[in-house]
């Protein structure tokens, strides 16, 4: 029995394919995606150029010229290789999950959308902070920017749609979009509703690995004051 069933494979153009586990967000499915991601990474097949895990899918970039065969397409060849790998029951060591506690200053100075969120969802700002800091979030995937995490899922009471028009945000801005929460690693335009800012640098370009969070990691936020925020920043420099 294939441990990854059920899934479907479809081409993403002529040089990549997506292994899809369904169009929904679920922790179990994401676990499967990451398990498969680590499995294929360990195998390090020379035909595979890149692997991109998302909420419920894994995309495989492959080398078409290298896989070229007169009787079948590179897509068919790589699909056969993947089907074979997918059917192996491998007892992989559980991938290491890092757990982080991240300080966030929820002061109005940084939390440009917290009033809007509390009004829309009929909560006090203290309640928003309390709810946001009460849960451990799973890093489902990274995307949008180097180091940008899609974490979830937030308590439905603080869920809110993203803004219609993105605004310019500083690095460290902490936001909510739908059931997701995340941190902007770099100064960037962004459409998430901003409820605070962390002094923790989640992207450090000078580091060998510049990204703090990996897919599968767990993050819990805790509230700090403006003074503490300044202290963190001072300590860093």
């Amino acid at each position: 029995m294939n441990p990854y069933q059920p899934y479907s494979i479809f081409p993403l153009g002529d040089s990549a394919l997506t292994i899809d586990f369904g169009n929904f967000i679920s922790e179990d499915i994401n676990k499967k995606v990451l398990q498969l991601f680590h499995h294929l990474k360990t195998v390090a097949d020379k035909n595979i150029i890149d692997l991109v895990p998302a909420y419920s899918s894994l995309t495989v970039y492959y080398d078409v010229a290298f896989l070229h065969h007169p009787e079948k397409t590179a897509f068919e060849s790589i699909t056969e290789i993947l089907e074979r790998l997918l059917s192996q029951r491998l007892d992989l060591p559980q991938h290491q999950i890092n757990r982080f506690e991240i300080p966030v200053c929820y002061s109005k100075k940084f939390a440009i959308d917290i009033d809007h969120l509390s009004q829309q969802n009929h909560l006090s700002t203290d309640e928003v902070i309390q709810i946001h800091t009460s849960k451990t979030y799973k890093v489902y995937m990274l995307g949008f920017l180097p180091g940008f995490t899609y974490m979830g899922e937030v308590d439905p009471r603080i869920s809110i749609p993203r803004k219609p028009t993105p605004v310019k945000l500083p690095s460290g801005a902490v936001g909510i979009a739908g059931m997701q929460t995340g941190i902007y690693p770099l100064e960037s335009p962004g459409g998430w509703q901003i409820i605070g800012r962390t002094p923790t640098k989640v992207f450090r370009k000078e580091n060998k690995c510049p990204v703090l969070f990996y897919p599968g990691d767990e993050v819990k936020f805790y509230s700090i004051s403006e003074d503490e925020f300044e202290n963190y920043q001072a300590r860093r420099t």
């Binding site: 479809f10 081409p11 993403l12 153009g13 002529d14 040089s15 990549a16 997506t18 899809d20 169009n23 929904f24 967000i25 991601f37 150029i49 890149d50 692997l51 991109v52 895990p53 998302a54 909420y55 419920s56 899918s57 995309t59 970039y61 078409v64 010229a65 070229h68 397409t73 590179a74 897509f75 995937m141 990274l142 995307g143 949008f144 920017l145 180097p146 180091g147 940008f148 995490t149 899609y150 690693p185 770099l186 960037s188 992207f203 370009k205 510049p210 990204v211 990996y214 897919p215």
Partner: protein, 327 residues
Amino acid sequence: MRITRQGVLDTIQDLGRYGYQYLGVNCNGAMDKFSMQLANTLLGKDLNSPVFEIHFPASRILFEKETIICITGADFLPTINDQPVPLDRPIAVSKKGILNFEKMQTGSRCYLSVFNEIKLNKWMNSYSTNLKSGTGGFQGRNLLKNDVILFENGLNISKLLHEKDFLVFPWKANDVVDTRNEIEFLIGSEWHWLTKEAQETFQEHWFQITNEADRMGYQLAGQVLEVQNNEQLISSAVSFGTVQLLPNGQLIILMADHQTAGGYPRVAQVVTAHLSILAQKKPNDVIRFKMTTLEEAEKKIVNQKKYLLQLQNACKFRMEEFLNAHL
């Protein structure tokens, strides 16, 4: 090499950064990878060597050391010390040679490869510039006035130049520019979300490239395309050439600096071999999408690669022969 006048967006690029998309680190790389590789090929260099990707108005470049260069892609009427020089041919440039680009003639990006190895550090396995995070390439940014790009090794070709400003080599690539307006595509995973009429419109109508067209993506203007369902898509991987349907019924084609993942319906995918054609289009150009098969798309990739590798072999040999005979 010293930049003596700043261009609008000139960066170092190679074939792109793979292996780190799972951390949100996007691929970058040259927009027109065919021309980028051709520039390296004609000098007999590795296909993936870093090159300068140049937009118009372009940088003006002073060569403080002599070298051999090759310019491919868009024709911006390049000159060395005010003398016109050809595209798609190796050119020896003397010390104090000034490379200038006079006018945007055809295409929108040109590529400059240099025979010497350029002194640069790889960032996450690639020389490509990641403008968003300020990493890769030359100091993680576009080239500015007074930037000096150093060579790893010297090259003494003064005997070859005989005190001339430059010398055009005898070999070249022929008829490499493809300016067609019909761009081939494969259907995307959400192609069937489009209504039958929208699928027909997609293939029959012309779409205009808007002013919102840069290294991240080309927004198109055309007839509004309708979908037959209201399903929301959760984010998953997108790639160079993914054609997404925006909520307003218009299309965007993701280009070299695209994000690693996206949540808009992927109605189509431009075939890899035609991305280079698309990369040379500019705002107001019109294109039409023509459906093809995976077999055909793959064949084009393989043929392009074969062409480049054969040419690279021949040029490597000719370069060695030529330099041996003249130095």
